[in-house]
């Protein structure tokens, strides 16, 4: 696997006089404040969705950022794995020890929920390998029950019992994935 953020070094604390845009001016992980280190006071987490998925689209315009991270086609499992590689490199370079995710952030949804779950199993196997390599942990996981059109009338508050069951299936799977990844 090649480096994704080639021109970005490991971000270190340089102090408030530093003008280096790629350095911390105040976050000094080992500085002790009121008996605990800054790192202990501030367990930071990367949000998978915004950082690795959101590319700038809003109601006025299309993507402005390239979040393919080297994948040839977006929305594929290869792209999902490229996001894992990019995410772990990103967190390592910043010294961030946790991540948070929705199910749909980490693998593309398929038409059939059984295939979606297979993809989630595959990608979380890969994430577990990276977690063991780096020591980075899962803070929490959740289910996205708003983006898919089936949730247009809600998930737990939907008018449609079948849709309610799809929401239940996603919650069940998200709990299983969170336990698998050791979420707090």
């Amino acid at each position: 696997m090649s480096e994704v953020f080639c021109n970005i070094p490991k971000i270190v604390y340089e102090g408030k006089e530093s003008t280096n845009p790629l350095a911390f001016k105040y976050y000094d992980p080992n500085r002790v404040i009121l008996g605990k280190t800054m790192k202990e006071h501030l367990p930071f987490a990367m949000a998978w969705w915004h950082n690795l998925c959101a590319a700038g689209t809003d109601m006025f315009g299309r993507d402005t950022a390239d979040k393919s991270f080297g994948a040839v086609r977006k929305g594929t499992m290869a792209h999902a794995k490229a996001k894992v590689d990019a995410g772990f490199e990103f967190m390592q370079k910043l010294g961030i020890e946790y991540f948070c995710f929705h199910d749909v952030d980490i693998a593309p949804e398929a038409d059939d929920i059984k295939e979606t779950e297979r993809r989630l199993d595959e990608i979380t196997d890969y994430m577990l390998v990276k977690m063991k390599e780096t020591g980075i942990k899962c803070l929490w996981g959740t289910a996205n029950m708003f983006s898919n059109p089936r949730f247009m009338n809600g998930a737990g508050s939907t008018n449609d019992a079948d849709v309610y069951c799809f929401a239940a299936a996603q919650i069940k799977k998200a709990l299983e994935l969170t336990v698998k990844l050791g979420g707090k």
Partner: protein
């Protein structure tokens, strides 16, 4: 659904907290989880308050017409401050802009609440995105450096406010009348409406309570924030 989720989660070995992230609107005009107070009331009404805690997002608190600090405090005094979605909104826009946190006044007040609550069971998740024109890999790093430095500054300054002691001393003095006499009986639940009414009638006329000293308190915060 939430009860079934708890039941299933516990059955497969999930020992952590379930989190609710209050939000007053978006996508709907009205939402059941409007703010921390509403969400905590909902959880208590349905017997879910032992398994759930709040995940407070700064931008959702401000959308609900509260400060970030207010929703953190409401969660903490109910023993339900779990985790934080670290971001900020834009009060001139009024939607969930999910900006990276840069406002050190806000992060200081946040960290004051977190320190007073004894920390989080979760963490500080940057539910924030770079602005649309900030579209390079470098911008992703600048954004996280901004957010992490803003919370580091907030932590440093909140600790200084606590060590300085002037604000905490003011709060203690403000409520001193509840530490003895009739005030202590009220706090301990050892009195009746009739006894309190008799106390008021014995006094005849009440003197004004102590000054609120709002401007003095703001000046202390500025003093600590900008002394270097």
């Amino acid at each position: 659904m939430m009860k079934m989720a708890v039941e299933y989660g516990r059955s497969i070995g999930f020992q952590g907290d379930f989190y609710i992230e209050p939000k007053p609107k978006e996508p709907m005009k009205h939402q059941y989880d409007f703010d921390a107070a509403t969400a905590i009331g909902f959880l208590k009404a349905y017997g879910l308050d032992q398994d759930f805690k709040m995940n407070i997002e700064a931008n959702h608190a401000t959308l609900a017409g509260h400060t970030f600090q207010h929703d953190l405090r409401v969660s903490a005094i109910n023993g339900m401050l779990g985790s934080i979605d670290a971001n900020q909104g834009d009060c001139l826009l009024g939607w969930d802009t999910d900006e990276f946190p840069s406002n050190v006044y806000e992060t200081t007040m946040c960290m004051y609440e977190v320190l007073k609550a004894g920390g989080l069971t979760g963490g500080f998740n940057f539910d924030a995105k770079t602005r649309r024109p900030s579209n390079t890999y470098e911008d992703m790093f600048h954004a996280y450096i901004l957010g992490m430095d803003a919370f580091a500054l907030g932590l440093i300054k909140a600790a200084e406010i606590i060590e300085d002691g002037r604000i905490d001393n003011f709060i203690k003095e403000r409520y001193a009348s509840f530490e003895s006499g009739i005030g202590k009986k009220i706090v301990d639940g050892n009195t009746t409406l009739a006894e309190l009414a008799a106390h008021a009638k014995q006094l005849g006329t009440a003197k004004l309570p102590l000054s609120g000293r709002q401007e003095y308190l703001h000046s202390i915060v500025n003093n600590i924030l900008f002394k270097g």
